[in-house]
Each structure stands twice: as structure tokens, then as C-alpha cells.
Symmetry: C2
Subunit: 161 residues, 2 copies
């Protein structure tokens, strides 16, 4: 395998491993558990679920891989904190969105060549990218993998002790 392909394979493997672990936690939680604060005064599991779907969905335009699928989630899960918006999608719907958005990303990711991973994302100008070539699609992938791991650590505490 070519060296640059190996780099991408490792980064995608880390992403997939993380998605798998987060999914396993969501699957282990009942809808009722998702609707309970993980710790007193902290986010509920359902908020983290909706938040992760919205952030992953935002990766489509950010990586120039397609249009948003779930723009309607932003108000409840991006622009506002948990419990600010009373009318949320059902846990069942959000679970389905989570599976779907990660599948769409997977299909798009698998089409990109190593060179395409090193191309700029859409939130940086050509001028800035010329100076900072590390602000590319691959860096977004690594950052979003870490973002997922960050919330995974919180979700782990939603499980019964």
C-alpha cells in the first residue's frame, strides 16, 4: 500500500472505531435513559445524540461532499443548549438519523483520494490555505473524531453504575 493511502486508512480507522463505540453506547441506552440528565444539571443523552448528528451533518458541506440532510436539528442541538427547546425529534428518529448520516459520510469518505483529503475545506479562503496547508479535509476528520470521543466520554456516564 502506498504510504499516503496508509495515512488515510489509519485516520479513517480511528474515525470508524470511535463511531462504533459511540453507537454501542447509544444502543445500550433506553429512550428513557436518553431523556435523563447524565449528571445533575448537565446534558441529556438525547441532546448529545442530536448534537453529534448535526455536527456530522455539517461535515458534508464543510468537506464539500454534499448538502445538509438535517438542517432542522441546528436550532435545538447547535444554536441552543439542552432543555432550551422543548419540541425535539423523537429518540427513535434521532437514532435513525445517526445511523444514516454516518453511512452517508462513510460512502463519501471512501471515494476520496489521499490528495483530495489534503485539499482545503470550505471554511478557509484560498489565501489562508496557501499559508496554512494543514487546514484541510483530513484535519477536519481528526478534529471531528476527537469531538465524537469527547462526547463519548460523557455518554459513558449515562449508563447505570
Amino acid at each position: 500500500m502506498e504510504q499516503s493511502q496508509l495515512f488515510i486508512k489509519i485516520a479513517l480507522h480511528a474515525w470508524e472505531m470511535n463511531i462504533k463505540r459511540t453507537t454501542a453506547i447509544f444502543d445500550s441506552l433506553t429512550d428513557e435513559q436518553l431523556l435523563t440528565e447524565i449528571a445533575p444539571g448537565r446534558n441529556r443523552g438525547i441532546y448529545i445524540l442530536g448534537h453529534l448528528v448535526a455536527v456530522h451533518d455539517m461535515m458534508l458541506p464543510l468537506l464539500d461532499l454534499g448538502q445538509r440532510q438535517y438542517l432542522q436539528l441546528d436550532e435545538a442541538f447547535i444554536s441552543n443548549p439542552d432543555k432550551a427547546i422543548a419540541d425535539l425529534p423523537s429518540a427513535q428518529d434521532l437514532r435513525a438519523y445517526w445511523t444514516n448520516i454516518n453511512q452517508i459520510l462513510r460512502e463519501q469518505f471512501n471515494k476520496l483520494t489521499p490528495e483530495e483529503w489534503l485539499q482545503k475545506h470550505t471554511m478557509i479562503t484560498d489565501e489562508d490555505f496557501a499559508k496554512e496547508p494543514h487546514r484541510n479535509r483530513l484535519s477536519v476528520l481528526l478534529n471531528r473524531t476527537n469531538h465524537n470521543a469527547y462526547h463519548q466520554g460523557q455518554l459513558a456516564w449515562a449508563k447505570n453504575k
Copy 2:
């Protein structure tokens, strides 16, 4: 910049950003806050601090970059859960270890070439590595970056609401 150097730069940047954010949280917490459970029945900040120092310390032999510095932390922070061992190092000492181990890793990481990042880590046999070349130093770096982000998400809840 050569393509393979750019891949490494991006991975190291993600590591450093994460260490920086976790350090900022530790710095924002008093010793008393570190000694308090983050959520009822969950880990204290001091446990996560000692755990992260020990796990980062283990990266030295795992990546074949040197010997362990803080082997004495393993009993309290790796082999046992929080509150099982009463006699812990002080928060002050652990904060210094955290700064030190990350500095040692930084110096070692900066010496490695892209080719060396793709060499196997020390916990895999030559035979297995031949079949699974993605199980290399770089994959350890990405996994430990995620491990750090996972606990960072929990630490964020140690701060006052």
C-alpha cells in the same frame, strides 16, 4: 512540504490542541475540585489526571521512545478504579508530571520521520504487523488523542455550572 510530512503535522497538531485544552481544564480546577467526584459515583478529576499521566507515560515504551517515568502511578490509576487506593500522589505533583510527560513526548515526537511514524509499535509481532500495517506508531498517536478527548469531555463537567 512533502505530503507525508503534512499528514504527520496534522496528526501532531490534533494531539497538541487536545493536550492544550485538557491542560486548560486542569489549570482551571482547584486541588479541592480535583478531589471531588465529577458526577455522583463517578471519577474524580484527580483520578483522570493520574490516569492520563500514566497512559501517556506508557506511550514511551509502546512507541519505542524511552523508558517509563511514572511506573508508580499504575497501581492507583490503571490497575484500580478511583477511590480503591487511598494513598495518592498530591495534586501538585500530578500536575507537574502531566506537564513533564507531555513535554518528553513532544520532544520525542518531533524527532520522528514520517517513515518512523509508520513503523510498528512494540505491542505487535512482526508477523501480525506484516498483515496489519496500520497498527503502527501513528495509529497509537490518533488513539491516544481520542483517549485524551474522551476524558476531556468528562473533565469539562468538573467545572462549576
